[in-house]
């Protein structure tokens, strides 16, 4: 047993070292970043679209798209390079990883070029010099003046952002709470879990002007220029691309394009966004979420089931060293998948495999969830096969049926019936677990609800809507499964 365990560990280590090596070689390659982008014809920009007016989702001609001043900056850079801009949404935490693994060519997301970040990526010149504000509830306006008024209180900031780090450093006796999305922070503020939210000045102003319950106060943080300025980030070592982008950024700065054009344009989108904040108005966004949730679930159940059957058969393989090896591999796979979080698997497939093949987020999500589900389904099926009486196999074999036919026509159909409730459970779990792929930016229900939340500045209603939608999905699924279960009852 012990020997097996050591072997297994060695395999895992080998796998990860392999992944690291690919990483280093990719970085050491000579700088042809500009030529590559121009050859591709597209510049892929990563951003976290819940930070108006920098970047946010708006409905334009019935379609949701990412807009805001950062997108305008991205478009200007792409145009000057003579390529098309493609915007990819993901959580702020994932942006730099996506840049390093080549999922995106450039990150513009109100990001400050801090020294720590500069170690990992290259920044352009600054395109915008902002400052920090703290958003508070309007009712508290007399109580809080600046960062120092929050002694014994809690303020929030976006996880991984400069505001978060500076809030921690520059306040005393104040709890700083980090959350991934600004909409969640605002919700925390309105439900009095937080007393203030630190964010960039333009964002604060956007929130305040769209929500009468909120007010903004100056932060009075002591900040260096790099903490308040926003730059575009590129992969470390892509000097030619950074230089080209700098030409555009300098133009933006010299002609004051952000204040003159980009911010007013973003403001217009914000207005159209908040004209109608009823959930019904966003039915298309929710429908899209349902659609993607279903696509992910159905595909993952299908491939997961096939993988599960193969793994179950491999785990029960008997015979020579080849079969033993197969059995061992399948067992190791099942143990490894069951022993690691699905969220990590999703990120590993998207970012990790991304080093080798560039898979779209949706496909990565389906692959990761299928791989995960297969391991669980394999165990159900193995149990199901073992639950079929040995006499069934003997009867089939005595009739001249081969091992394979016996499995396919006699054992598996009965096993399937025995494990149907467990499989149904897995299916319903997958409907809910598919929400994990929102972290890599697949527009399933959770992701869509976050967009609606940041669009409408309403915190709770979208959550209630998707709660009901999830329940409708799972309840319908369980009714359908029960129907088939009844049909299989013969004894």
């Amino acid at each position: 047993m012990k020997k097996k365990w050591v072997l297994f560990l060695a395999l895992v280590i080998a796998l990860f070292t392999g992944a690291m090596m690919t990483g280093t070689t990719a970085q050491a390659a000579s700088d042809d970043s500009l030529a590559q982008v121009q050859k591709k014809g597209t510049l892929v920009m990563g951003t976290s679209p819940d930070y108006p007016p920098y970047e946010f989702q708006a409905t334009v001609h019935g379609k949701t798209k990412v807009v805001g001043m950062d997108v305008a900056v991205g478009e200007k850079i792409a145009k000057d390079l003579g390529v098309k801009l493609e915007v990819k949404s993901m959580s702020f935490d994932s942006l730099l990883v996506a840049l390093q693994t080549g999922k995106v060519d450039m990150v513009i997301s109100g990001m400050n070029p801090t020294p720590a970040r500069k170690k990992n990526v290259d920044f352009t010149h600054t395109y915008y010099q902002g400052g920090y504000s703290i958003v508070i509830n309007k009712a508290d306006k007399g109580i809080y003046k600046n960062k120092d008024s929050f002694k014994g209180k809690t303020i929030g900031a976006q996880t991984g952002s400069t505001m978060y780090n500076e809030s921690k450093k520059q306040t005393t006796d104040t709890t700083v709470k980090g959350m991934t999305s600004v909409s969640d922070l605002i919700l925390g503020l309105q439900s009095h879990k937080l007393q203030g939210v630190a964010m960039e000045k333009p964002s604060a102003e956007a929130y305040v002007s769209n929500n009468k319950e909120l007010a903004s106060i100056p932060s009075d943080f002591d900040l260096s220029a790099s903490d308040t300025s926003a730059s575009a980030a590129f992969k470390k070592g892509s000097t030619s691309l950074v230089n080209a982008a700098n030409k555009s950024v300098d133009q933006i700065k010299n002609q004051n394009l952000v204040n003159k054009d980009y911010l007013p344009a973003a403001g217009k989108y914000l207005k159209t966004n908040t004209v109608n904040t009823s959930m019904l108005h966003y039915w298309k966004a929710f429908l899209k979420g349902v659609e993607y949730t279903l696509i992910i679930t159905v595909c993952s159940v299908f491939f997961g089931f096939i993988l599960g059957v193969l793994l179950a058969l491999a785990r029960m393989a008997q015979g020579g060293p080849l079969m033993t090896g197969l059995r061992w591999l399948a067992t190791a796979y099942v143990e490894f998948i069951r022993g690691t979080p699905m969220m990590v698997q999703v990120m590993f497939v998207y970012f990790g495999l991304g080093l080798v093949v560039n898979l779209p987020a949706l496909m990565s999500g389906i692959i990761a969830i299928s791989l995960n589900s297969g391991a669980y389904v394999a165990e159900y099926i193995r149990g199901g096969i073992n639950s079929v009486d040995k006499g069934q196999t003997e009867a089939a074999r005595s009739l001249g049926m081969s091992r394979g036919y016996t499995m396919r026509y006699v054992v598996l159909p009965q096993a399937l019936k025995n494990i149907w409730p467990s499989l149904g459970n897995e299916f319903i779990t997958l409907i809910k677990d598919s929400s994990i792929v929102s972290i890599i930016g697949v527009s399933e229900l959770i992701f869509q609800s976050n967009i609606v939340r940041s669009d409408t500045y309403r915190g709770v209603a979208p959550i209630a809507v998707i709660m009901v939608l999830y329940f409708i999905l799972t309840f319908t699924a369980s009714r359908i499964l029960n129907f088939f279960e009844r049909r299989m009852q013969h004894d």
Binding site: L399, G400, P413, D491
Partner: protein
Amino acid sequence: MTKPIIEVKSLAKNFGDNVVLKDITEQVDPGQVIVVIGPSGGGKSTFLRCLNLLETPTSGEVDFNGENLTTLDPKRVNELREQMGMVFQNFNLFPNMTVLENIKLAPMKVKAVDDAAATKRAHELLKQVNLDDHADAFPSSLSGGQAQRVAIARALAMDPKVMLFDEPTSALDPEMVGEVLNVMKELANQGMTMVVVTHEMGFAKSVADRVWFMADGFIQENNTPESFFSDPQTERAQDFLSKILM
């Protein structure tokens, strides 16, 4: 002299340290009905299951029509198994299929018989075992006697040359034993080669051509039913017969 259809040569079988069969050498001629009797735990079922390789012999050989099963590749073994129907103590019908589907499955999947022909043959066999009115029933709705007759029909659907019966009436209520034995008798009358492991002495007396008395992993006595029951040669057989009610 006819060529034997089954020849067993120096057959032995152990389960770990437990020696179940020790050096058995016998043969079955075409058309013969062999009844294997003996005390429980004497290796009767294991012996029968070695004949179609449901159990792999530890040593020795089992020849079917001159081919040594123990040395053949799995594919050829499957082909030869088609020619040896087997009926089990617990019927082992497929519970998720109707009676008709139970019978049709192997001919259609293994012999690629088309659906119409397989259905026709299945109905013939069901008539033969007096169950044609139950063609669309599921096994769970059948009595033990009916289920065992379906199992016999299912085995016959592959047109076997030999039928192996492993205590076919042991799991049945007493009033159902007769209907199964009648079907088996009829089959014997039609000239089917049969090897039957059973505790039904009446059946052995009236139907068997040879009685093999098996105990302690050996065939202790191979005799005609008449002389076996009236004048057993071995002490072991005398002891066995004295203990059962006749």
